[in-house]
Amino acid sequence: MAHSAFLRTFGKHWMKPVTLALLLAPFLYLAVLWIMMLNNLPTPMGWDAVKWTHHYLGDTAIRILLVTLAVTPVRDITGWAPIALIRRRIGLAAFFYALLHMLAYLGLDRGWSLVKLWEDVVIRTYITLGMIALVLMVPLAVTSTNGMIRRLGRKAWDRIHWLIYPLAIFAVAHNMLMQKTLWQTEPTVHAAILAVLLGWRVVRWGLGKLKRPAEVAA
């Protein structure tokens, strides 16, 4: 694919800072809402601002996680390789929001009691799933630097980061189990998008297996 000068300039100079700003925007928005709330101004968070905050952080984390998983398909379909350079920072942002999501729950709902949080992890399936997803994100976040890629080698690094597939499934399952009725559609939409993104990889992997013998023959 021929790429325009604009796209080249954008990829080289703008893509990374613009992505960073976009990824931080939901956090800044939430910060503004909380400042307004604490000054007794009405906000879109409504009368149940704590619950709204939990859902907002959780939804943001899951959506950014889905965007992370969309980067590779977009690269392969458009052929625009530079987009892969922002994949790690998008994934890190997903971890950032997931961590805030857990901390908000721990602080605002469980009174910073790790014991109470652990009870939830043990008793409640959806919290177990969410916590597993968050814990699995930790090694990914820790190894997200250039230095770690170099130190581990591409192969070992890829093997660790393969964890994004199961953890995304756990995260979306955590989200699905929160529904009171199936008519609250957002978790279902998240699950459908995840199914497409993972399905695309399965199909690509299947096609690769089919192609290889033919290439050898040629």
């Binding site: 307004m36 709330m37 604490l38 000054n39 007794n40 101004l41 009405p42 906000t43 968070m45 409504g46 009368w47 149940d48 601002a49 704590v50 619950k51 709204w52 605002l108 709902d109 009174g111 109470k116 939830d120 008793i123 409640r124 959806y126 189990l177 929160m178 009171k180 009725t181 008519w183 609250q184």
Partner: protein, 336 residues
């Protein structure tokens, strides 16, 4: 001429007759005008809205109860909560009334289409006084009292609400239940033209709830027609609803159109939909968790800017003294 109405029961079958919204709203205005003038002929020309029916004992129109928002005079009662009532905007704007949508802000936006006058309550089952009643037949407006109760939702939030109503037992006394009546069942108004959320099968409509007779007769149980000094707003269950302060909020029935005395435990809406999470009793109990969350504490609604303080949930929502005896010897974890 005597006007007779049949409401609420047959709307499901009228889906082919759905009226375009404009005409529908015009009809509503006509009906309102007709009601004021007592012009029976106009009403009689609207087959979808009124049909002659057999024996009923309600007065013509049955619309002499106060309109939503009208000022009510009520005697203060001894029931109070230390913190005082929640800010009224939160009560009016944060509602679970799935017939108007599943989001808490949906009912305040969507409830305006509901007709609350004329209104009749059908009473049937194990009773010596079956029939259709006007609200004013059931509720003695001269005996209204204001009771400030804590309202605890199963979703772990709470408010403090100054309800206006009469004890449900005073209503039941007028309805002469037979000795065979062991439970009382309530049904909410159901009309997909007026209730946008009821078009989706979120729950089995009409919304059905019920109580054991002794629970219904308990002095705490209210038949409410108002709150905050006014007749109930539509999103809060106008024109009349039950209030059972020691149970989770969904045990109350809003916009009641049917009362049935029955011999067996009624099939209630949330228990039917998800019996593992919502039981028939649903007494507020900090020691019995919802499968997905703890009930040990609650988010207080109506805080500064919408922020929620947390408070520890009280056994039976703070009404242990008045109600605990009814459940003596019962395993409350099993009978959740």
């Amino acid at each position: 001429m005597e006007l007779k109405f049949r409401r609420n029961t047959d709307y499901q079958d009228l889906s082919t007759e759905i009226t375009p919204e404009k005409i529908f709203i015009d009809r509503r205005k006509l009906m309102a005008a007709g009601g004021m003038l007592g012009a029976g002929s106009i009403l009689g020309a609207l087959p979808a809205c009124s049909e002659p029916q057999g024996a009923i004992n309600a007065p013509a129109g049955a619309s002499d109860h106060p309109k939503p928002g009208a000022k009510l005079v009520a005697a203060k009662s001894a029931f109070a909560v230390a913190e005082g009532p929640t800010v009224e905007d939160a009560f009016a704007g944060y509602c679970n009334y799935y017939e108007f949508g599943t989001d808490k802000s949906d009912p305040a936006r969507n409830a305006f289409l509901m007709t609350t006058s004329p209104w009749q309550v059908k009473v049937e089952g194990e009773t010596d006084a079956p029939g259709n009643y006007a609200i004013t037949d059931l509720v003695d407006y001269k005996k209204l009292e204001e009771r400030v109760y804590r309202h605890r939702c199963v979703e772990a939030w709470s408010m403090v609400i100054p309800w206006i109503g009469v004890p449900l037992n005073s209503v039941i006394a007028k309805l002469k239940p037979k000795a065979t009546a062991k439970y009382i069942q309530f049904e909410t108004y159901h009309n997909v033209k007026e209730m946008i959320g009821a078009r989706a099968p979120v729950l089995k409509w009409p919304y059905t709830e019920g109580l054991r007779m002794d629970e219904a007769m308990n002095d705490l149980t209210l038949m409410a027609v108002g709150a905050y000094g006014k007749a109930l707003q539509k999103q809060n269950g106008a024109p009349l609803r039950t209030v059972i302060p020691w149970k989770y909020g969904f045990k109350a029935t809003k916009s009641i159109v049917k009362i049935r005395f029955v011999t067996a435990e009624p099939k209630t809406a949330w228990k039917t939909s998800n019996g593992n999470e919502y039981g028939f009793y649903s007494n507020v109990n900090p020691k019995v968790d919802h499968p997905r969350w703890s009930q040990a504490s609650e988010r207080v609604i109506g805080g500064k800017g919408g922020f929620n303080e947390r408070r520890n949930t009280d056994m039976f929502n703070g009404y242990e003294k008045q109600v605990a005896a009814m459940y003596a010897g019962m395993d409350l974890a099993k009978n959740y």
